[in-house]
């Protein structure tokens, strides 16, 4: 597992689409591992089901979520302005062998939940020791 950014922050110039007035953010993520696989949860507020893209290629899992109203709304008369609105993008390198055909994702209330089953060979096996 390998990542760069932690909080919602601006991703540099390496954006998938260079449309003006759009910013890409790094979603906060939780990653859990159990014997059978990994669970990843991403904060993607404002993204609707159907506007997400999950790919696994060359050992890299990439998630993307698009909001319907990106942009900075600079013309608004802000009293308090603490966050920007934009799309989400994040990648993780997974070195454990996984069953990429069985990856599933669900988006609910702006929370993307991804389940990544491990390849059978990578699962922990419990060995029973026989008494003599």
């Amino acid at each position: 597992m390998n990542t760069q950014a932690l909080e919602k922050q601006r991703i540099g110039t390496d954006t998938p689409e260079r449309l003006s007035n759009e910013t890409w953010y790094t979603p906060a993520a939780d990653i859990l591992e159990d014997n059978d696989g990994y669970t990843m949860v991403f904060d993607m507020p404002g993204v609707q089901p159907g506007d997400t893209d999950i790919t696994f290629n060359g050992g890299v899992l990439t998630v993307e979520g698009k909001v319907s109203n990106p942009g900075n709304n600079d013309s608004r008369n802000y009293l308090i302005r603490e966050y920007g609105v934009g799309h989400f993008h994040r990648s993780f390198t997974i070195r454990t062998p996984i069953d990429s055909d069985a990856i599933t994702g669900e988006l609910k209330n702006g929370e993307l939940n991804i389940r990544i089953p491990k390849a059978r060979a990578a699962r922990t096996k419990k060995i029973t020791v026989r008494g003599g």
């Binding site: 597992m1 990542t3 932690l6 909080e7 906060a28 993520a29 939780d30 990653i31 859990l32 591992e33 159990d34 014997n35 990994y38 669970t39 949860v41 904060d43 993607m44 507020p45 404002g46 993204v47 609707q48 709304n73 608004r76 008369n77 802000y78 009293l79 308090i80 302005r81 603490e82 966050y83 609910k108 209330n109 702006g110 929370e111």
Partner: protein, 147 residues
């Protein structure tokens, strides 16, 4: 925390909001506050105004209606959020960036609100609140009298 039910009409609402923020930081994480390390206020909000109302948006990924409490009195707004991040049994954390816990934020607006007409909705993890200004706070067009 400031008394929500006894709002003080003040032109210094920006300053007031900064003070509220410092209080929130201190109450949430006293140790971090003392050491001057970076704090994260949750949830992050945007508030903007137009002629008739203020508009609040907050990012609340994963939240359902029962997790959010909203109080309006005078020119103040209090937002309470409960956030639970659960892990399945026998799972090990590799990374935990999403915050959890109970959070309260208080905002002071520059004018009185019409509490009866406040409307809030929660969709796809975004809270949207319309906060109409009280009649007395709306701009009125003054008719000039002919000489």
């Amino acid at each position: 925390m400031l008394d929500l039910l006894d709002p003080v009409a003040t032109p210094y609402s920006a300053l007031q909001n900064q003070i509220n923020g410092l209080l929130e930081d201190f109450l949430a994480e006293p140790a971090a506050w003392a050491s001057g390390s970076e704090l994260r206020r949750y949830p992050a909000v945007n508030i903007w105004e137009d002629c008739d109302a203020a508009h609040l948006e907050a990012e609340l990924p994963g939240a359902v209606m029962e997790d959010v409490e909203l109080y309006v009195a005078g020119n103040q707004l209090r937002l309470g959020v409960q956030r639970r991040v659960s892990a399945p049994e026998k799972a090990a954390w590799h990374r935990q960036e999403r915050v959890s816990g109970n959070f309260t934020r208080t905002f002071t607006l520059p004018w009185e609100l019409d509490a009866d007409k406040v409307e809030a909705k929660l969709k796809d993890g975004i809270l949207t609140v319309e906060l109409p200004k009280a009649e007395s706070a709306k701009p009125r067009k003054i008719k000039l009298l002919a000489n």
